[in-house]
């Protein structure tokens, strides 16, 4: 029992296991359309009916203004894959809506150009 070589919490086990604890071990998002710049917008901030991890509440609070999956990941210090799973859960519960990037047309590209020139 006291064998030091057989330790659960070694460095190799840590990086993957800890972040995915909040998803109950799920690593694959149900919503494959979620990408780095998918914008998440909170529809319903009611967290009282949500018994889950505190990360859900953090996401709902952050996304009162449209916030990208990458920003959520950075703010919560969680890997992208974990954030996608959590956002997927919130989509299922209709608590957030998401806006993914779309194919750019000339109008959008011009707006990007004008926007960059203004900064």
């Amino acid at each position: 029992m006291s064998d030091d070589d057989d330790h659960w919490f070694d460095e190799e086990a840590g990086p993957l296991v800890r972040p995915y604890a909040v998803t109950g071990g799920r690593t694959r998002a149900v919503h494959p359309e979620l990408d780095l710049i998918t914008l998440v917008v909170t529809l319903q901030l009611d967290i009282r009916s949500w018994p889950g991890e505190p990360e859900y509440e953090s996401i709902l609070r952050m996304c009162r203004a449209p916030t990208s999956v990458a920003e959520i990941s950075a703010a919560l210090k969680l890997p992208l894959g974990v954030v996608k799973v959590l956002v997927g859960d919130l989509i299922e519960r209709h608590q957030v809506m998401v806006r993914s990037s779309r194919a750019p047309d000339t109008t959008m590209l011009q707006a990007v150009l004008e926007g960059i020139r203004r900064i």
Partner: protein, 215 residues
């Protein structure tokens, strides 16, 4: 150009709850806001994060992804204690272009072993800035190859380093063997105006390319 995924936005919005009023959100952004993405690529230590930082409205943020999940696609954590994981960090910045448009700048991972991340990064990207260091031009070859193969528009920024050889744009173009239509600019990405010039040149190039491809 094979960028973006047509119809995806409308499909997803339709699936979500659609009763969102424009004043529902704070922060000055409309719920109809669209996000676009540009990449900053180049070899390790060439100034990618410096460029993101010089022009982003926020201090560059860092997000990360785990190699095991992407490369193996595991569905659960069974046996994870025996797997080797690698974390790849991505630095990115954000520029709010208008109430309806937000631009994200992503620095690409500078090490070859992180190529697996490039697919997610390049998916939907409008274009890329490839930063080159004239002391070691070869370090940007992989980035150029990648964007050429994917038909992703890019411009090259020759970043000035103290003591770096002062090649002409033509010499750099010859050394990198890139098409004449690819803009090459000399820059100093520590300076905001210089980074901005690169983004303007890139966006103009993207527009030019899209106009040509639409005939």
């Amino acid at each position: 150009m094979a960028i973006g995924r047509p119809d995806s936005a409308s499909r997803r919005v339709a699936r979500g709850v659609t009763t969102v009023e424009p004043d529902h959100v704070s922060g000055g952004l409309d719920v109809s806001v669209t996000a676009v993405k540009l990449l900053i690529a180049g070899g390790f230590g060439v100034g990618k994060t410096t460029m993101v930082g010089s022009i982003s409205e926020i201090t560059p943020l860092r997000t990360e992804e785990l190699l095991t999940e992407l490369s193996v696609g595991v569905d659960d954590l069974a046996g994870v204690e025996r797997k080797t994981t690698t974390t790849v960090a991505l630095d990115f910045g954000r520029i709010t272009l208008s109430r309806h448009l937000v631009l994200y700048l992503f620095g690409t991972p500078g090490q070859d072993r992180f190529w697996f991340m490039w697919n997610e990064l390049s998916n939907g990207a409008l274009g890329a800035v490839v930063l080159a260091d004239t002391r070691r031009l070869d370090t940007c070859f992989p980035s150029i190859d990648f964007f050429e193969r994917r038909n992703i528009p890019f411009v090259i920024g020759v970043n000035r380093f103290d003591g770096s050889p002062a090649y002409t744009v033509d010499e750099v173009r010859h050394a990198l063997d890139v098409d004449d239509v690819v803009p090459i600019l000399v820059c100093d990405v520590r300076r905001r105006e210089s980074s901005k010039s690169l983004l303007v040149a890139l966006t103009e190039h993207v527009i030019e390319r899209s106009t040509v491809s639409m005939g």
